[in-house]
């Protein structure tokens, strides 16, 4: 297991796990997945008052780069002993000056999560979740997912000496499967696997393995929320006005919301404005958009899901109710975009800004065009587009 340059004198302020659905609390010292009372995602809660008293925000900026510099706000109680890291986090926040000028937006940025070690934001979540799993004494982990998930699992689980098992669709490229297997992960190919969010392995096949699938455990969100800390820090402890998140499972949207909520509670923000969240989905798989437009509190399972942005194929997120609540509470919006618009936006980012993004990341720019048409964004607003992965 690799170690971050962390001090053993610092420790996590993790306090308890809270159900996002029914509000029931669970001890953080025990292994929990999702809420057994109502089957909603659990979220980690911290003693923020303790952090506020003992950790001025300036100390985090003085530490070595990477997400583990926020260790008091991460769940590994002893990060110095259990930190599985490849240097993830502190990804670039790139100004989109050329595009901004064309679009009449003076404050347009792209947070490039493709710069993470395994090429996607999943590296953040996996670093923290694997570290916490190791600390909790978990020996076997399981997940269902696509390439970005598999690469992150392979990169972090094997060095941590965890037995790792992934279900992938049988149309995954042979080279990807080989890459994952070489890293020591057991890959099981499933015919017609549609989504890692559904859990056909949960009951009969789980066999003591800790399920790392999206929102099935509380710790990946903790790694991903550091995107939000970095954004606030880079913006001089103010929050953006608008955050545009490509949304499959919705982990980045929930993670950013959680980060901003914690920062506000810590009293670290210089302004009280809260961002409006935008969930972007592909037109061929847009359950959040459909539910948002209908003012529903949960999603219908999306049938016949299809899009060229394969990571956006999630017919129903396990956190759909939480995502919809965040959108409503933040006065946000959900937008769907056509595949052709994804491709055009991907080309435009490359041509105008020389930035290569995934089709999923390009969805954020494609959605921005729609938001401008709707006059939903204003010229001087601080707008963040999130590129979730390199490809």
């Amino acid at each position: 297991m690799s170690n971050a340059p962390l001090s053993s004198a610092t420790a996590s302020y993790l306090s308890y796990l809270l159900c996002s659905g029914c509000g029931k609390e669970y001890p953080a010292s025990q292994v929990h997945t999702y809420c057994p009372n109502c089957n909603s995602p659990l979220l980690a809660n911290y003693n923020l008052q303790g952090v506020q008293q003992n950790c001025p925000r300036a100390i985090f900026a003085a530490r070595s780069r990477g997400l583990w510099r926020w260790q008091e706000l991460l769940p590994a109680q002893s990060a110095a002993d259990y930190c599985a890291t490849l240097g993830e986090g502190d990804t670039p926040l790139l100004p989109l000056n050329n595009l901004g000028e064309q679009l009449g937006l003076s404050n347009l940025w792209l947070k490039d999560e493709g710069a993470n070690p395994t090429g996607s934001f999943k590296a953040r979540g996996m670093s923290v979740a694997i570290s916490r799993a190791k600390e909790l004494g978990i020996e076997k982990v399981i997940i269902g997912g696509k390439e970005n998930t598999a690469r992150a699992l392979a990169a972090y689980a094997s060095p941590a000496r965890l037995s790792a098992h992934i279900y992938m669709s049988d149309d995954t490229s042979a080279s990807t499967v080989e890459e994952i297997r070489l890293a020591g992960v057991k890959v099981e190919l499933v015919k017609n696997l549609e989504t890692s969010s559904a859990g056909f392995w949960e009951q009969s096949n789980l066999d003591g393995q800790f399920n790392l699938s999206a929102f099935r455990e509380p710790y990946q969100v903790e790694g991903q929320k550091t995107i939000g800390y970095e954004l606030a820090e880079a913006l001089n402890w103010a929050l953006p006005d608008v955050v545009v998140c490509p949304t499959g499972h919705g982990t980045t949207l929930v993670s950013l919301w959680k980060a901003f909520t914690e920062l506000e509670a810590l009293g670290w923000l210089e302004s009280s404005r809260s961002p409006r969240f935008v969930a972007v989905q592909a037109r061929g798989c847009a359950p959040i958009v459909k539910a948002f437009d209908a003012e529903a509190s949960f999603c219908d399972y999306w049938t016949n899901a299809h899009t060229i942005a394969s990571h956006l194929i999630v017919p129903k997120s396990f956190a759909d109710q939480l995502i919809l609540k965040i959108l409503a509470d933040s006065q946000g919006i959900a937008i769907s975009v056509a595949d052709e618009a994804l491709q055009a936006a991907q080309r435009q980012l490359a041509a105008d800004e020389q930035i290569a993004v995934s089709l999923e990341g390009a969805a954020a720019l494609a959605a921005l065009y729609k938001l401008i048409q709707k006059k939903w964004v204003q010229p001087n607003e601080r707008i963040i587009l999130l590129n979730t992965s390199r490809k």
Binding site: G21, Y34, K191, N192, L193, S197, G199
Partner: protein, 124 residues
């Protein structure tokens, strides 16, 4: 409109969870542990809504739904059917809806969603 819900499910943990959810909201739950028993209960008892697991030990939930829709008991042609499955394969939801189910839900069952969906058909 009555409040009798039939749950066709072979997993006792799921059965217990759903019983807790629905009985606390005033519904009466009838149980069947396999598809054929479920069909028999649906045809012989007054039922207002059916929760249907897809992976059953005898005939699968798709077949149960198709037989319910073709039943000689006229009320079953239009009775609300909520399919509940742990499957994650392309086409499962489409197959459930094509077989005659009205709604498709995936496990684990979110209790607030299930309660809301049942109440949508059978107001508490």
């Amino acid at each position: 409109m009555g409040n009798n819900v039939l749950y066709i499910e072979d997993n006792p943990d799921n059965m217990m969870l759903v019983r807790r959810i629905l009985e606390s909201r005033g519904y009466r739950l009838l149980e069947a542990q396999n598809g054929l028993t479920g069909l028999s209960v649906a045809e012989s008892q007054p039922i207002d809504l059916i929760l249907l697991d897809i992976n059953l030990p005898d005939i699968d939930g798709y077949e149960v739904a198709r037989r319910l829709r073709r039943s000689s008991k006229a009320a079953l042609a239009h009775i609300p059917i909520i399919a509940i499955t742990a499957n994650a394969l392309k086409g499962d939801a489409e197959k459930a809806l094509a077989a005659g189910c009205d709604v498709y839900m995936s496990k684990p069952i979110n209790i607030r969603e299930l309660a809301a969906r049942v109440a949508g058909f059978l107001p508490e």
